[in-house]
Chain length 278, copies 2
DNA sequence: CGCGACTTTGACAGATGTCAAGGCTTGTGG
DNA sequence: CCACAAGCCTTGACATCTGTCAAAGTCGCG
């Protein structure tokens, strides 16, 4: 669990400057580990929710049903993602979430998330920015599915996953992404057969290949080009922070952040309960 | 401007319980009115932003470019929407926003938005829930473009717009939605010619017709069915609220909310600056 | 009244979907 | 360790939807 939680905190930190205390408050959030088999539902559409989950291992996704039983996967979540963080703000599920592969999730009660947001306003901020980042990905998916042709859509997806996994290093590299071709079809809005044809094309052109669930990128530049991929939507230029902004304009270091542990700093927006030191 | 601002506050209130004071704090946000012609850019991709805008009149949208100059509209915003509220949290534009028709927007400086969020934690919450709602729409668009065939996509879009405009009353009704067929094509990921063919089908089957930019819904049930439309994603079941939660479990009325005007209530999460009464 | 911007139509091309069969992997049980 | 079964991948033939191109028709604005 630890590693995925660390990853989650890193993603938050990429958009919001968090102190060590705040980071730890997130890391030590309690929850319940749950193991899932591929295809198993995590939450169903319309259900009331009382917890949000962190993906610890494996891959999860959101699925929407269209008429004729056609399925559309509208989001994919990797280890370290928190797919339904939104539910902490709106506790009714607005789509079905399922494990795309064998997966482990860590369910954190909304109550705990609420507590931590109340104690640390910067964490609320961080969550909101995380949601903003998520929305940017979804928007890019609209473009992917709406404006690119088949091979591009698939190439784009693999580019995105590679970057999100932090694996896109150099021209050639491999990563584990055990998604079925039928699921790729549901992601890209294509038929499974056509996905297969596209993968064959990518393979025969020495751009990428898939062997026993491992994705081998053979020519990253080419893949990026074919996928019309610009990673800009995955990152924020610089981390921000409103809460507890240092009055002197001095950047909060992990040092100065630690002050939160002893008392209230200069300009708190929240009246913080004293942080619990586990 | 007033009417669209009221609409915005209503949309916030649908998801977050706001007091009269808080609502007024939003309503009286200062800004600058700006008039735009159809096709004109509001913000370009990647630009730093210092304000967010409320759509006062007309229709705006986000546009992403794919290779070969193909454009995809990933979101449409109506009067009362705040298309780039996200920028208050992440002040770099992540897509180009343009006026889809002649439009008027009201630009509110981030500074002011930040102020109001700082003073009223419930407003921060409300903004976050608004962003969550926006994301739900975007996700539905992925499904629309990825999993439905041409006529359905178009029908679905019109259903969504009708509901968002609050115009879907009864079996037959009309509303003004002056979008070009070429823009419809950019929204649905189809070619303009094919959009035309689909519109002709809808017309000949007496489901809906378009006359001089007015959309006439002739058979709402049928349109909903053809569009595979379920309005669930547009609404939240019940408004929520964390901030200043009444300790007795008593519901905040506009009365009790007014207490905020005089001082700090029992369990504030924020140390509020005294609200400014304009 | 005339021009420019949209819409409408037709003919044709191309991309992607569907159906169906056969070949591989992978995991399980003997 | 082998054999089998189930699920997944691959391929081919063919159908269909949607895109492209081009021209004519319509609407609205100056």
């Amino acid at each position: 669990m630890n590693q995925s939680m660390t990853r989650f905190v890193e993603m938050l930190s990429a958009r919001t400057r968090l102190t060590a205390i705040e980071r730890q408050a997130i890391t030590s959030l309690p929850g319940m580990t749950q193991h899932l088999t591929g295809g198993e539902n995590i939450v169903r559409f319309g259900e009331p929710m009382t917890s949000a989950c962190l993906v610890v291992q494996g891959f999860c996704g959101r699925v929407e049903m269209a008429s004729g039983g056609k399925r559309q996967i509208t989001a994919v979540y990797l280890a370290g993602d928190m797919p339904d963080l939104y539910s902490a703000f709106q506790p009714t599920s607005n789509s079905t979430m399922e494990a795309l592969t064998k997966a482990t999730v860590f369910r954190i009660p909304h109550r705990e998330l609420g507590d931590v947001m109340r104690r640390y306003p910067a964490i609320t901020e961080a969550f909101t920015r995380y949601l903003v980042g998520d929305a940017a990905i979804t928007m890019e998916w609209v473009t992917n599915v709406g404006a690119r042709e088949a091979v591009s859509r698939i190439a784009h997806l693999y580019c995105e996953i590679a970057v999100r996994l932090g694996q896109s290093i150099g021209q050639r590299f491999s990563f584990y992404f055990p998604i079925l071709q039928s699921q790729l079809a549901e992601i890209t809005g294509l038929s499974a057969v056509h996905v297969n044809r596209c993968l064959m094309t990518l393979r025969s052109e020495r751009v990428m290949s898939i062997e026993r669930r491992m994705v081998n990128v053979l020519d990253w530049n080419r893949l990026v080009e074919m996928g019309d991929f610009d990673p800009g939507y995955l990152t924020a230029p610089a981390p921000q922070r409103f809460a507890n902004w240092d009055p002197e304009g001095q950047v909060l270091t992990e040092q100065s952040g630690k002050k939160d542990g002893i008392g209230i700093t200069a300009t708190p927006f929240f009246v913080a309960d004293p942080p619990v030191n586990s």
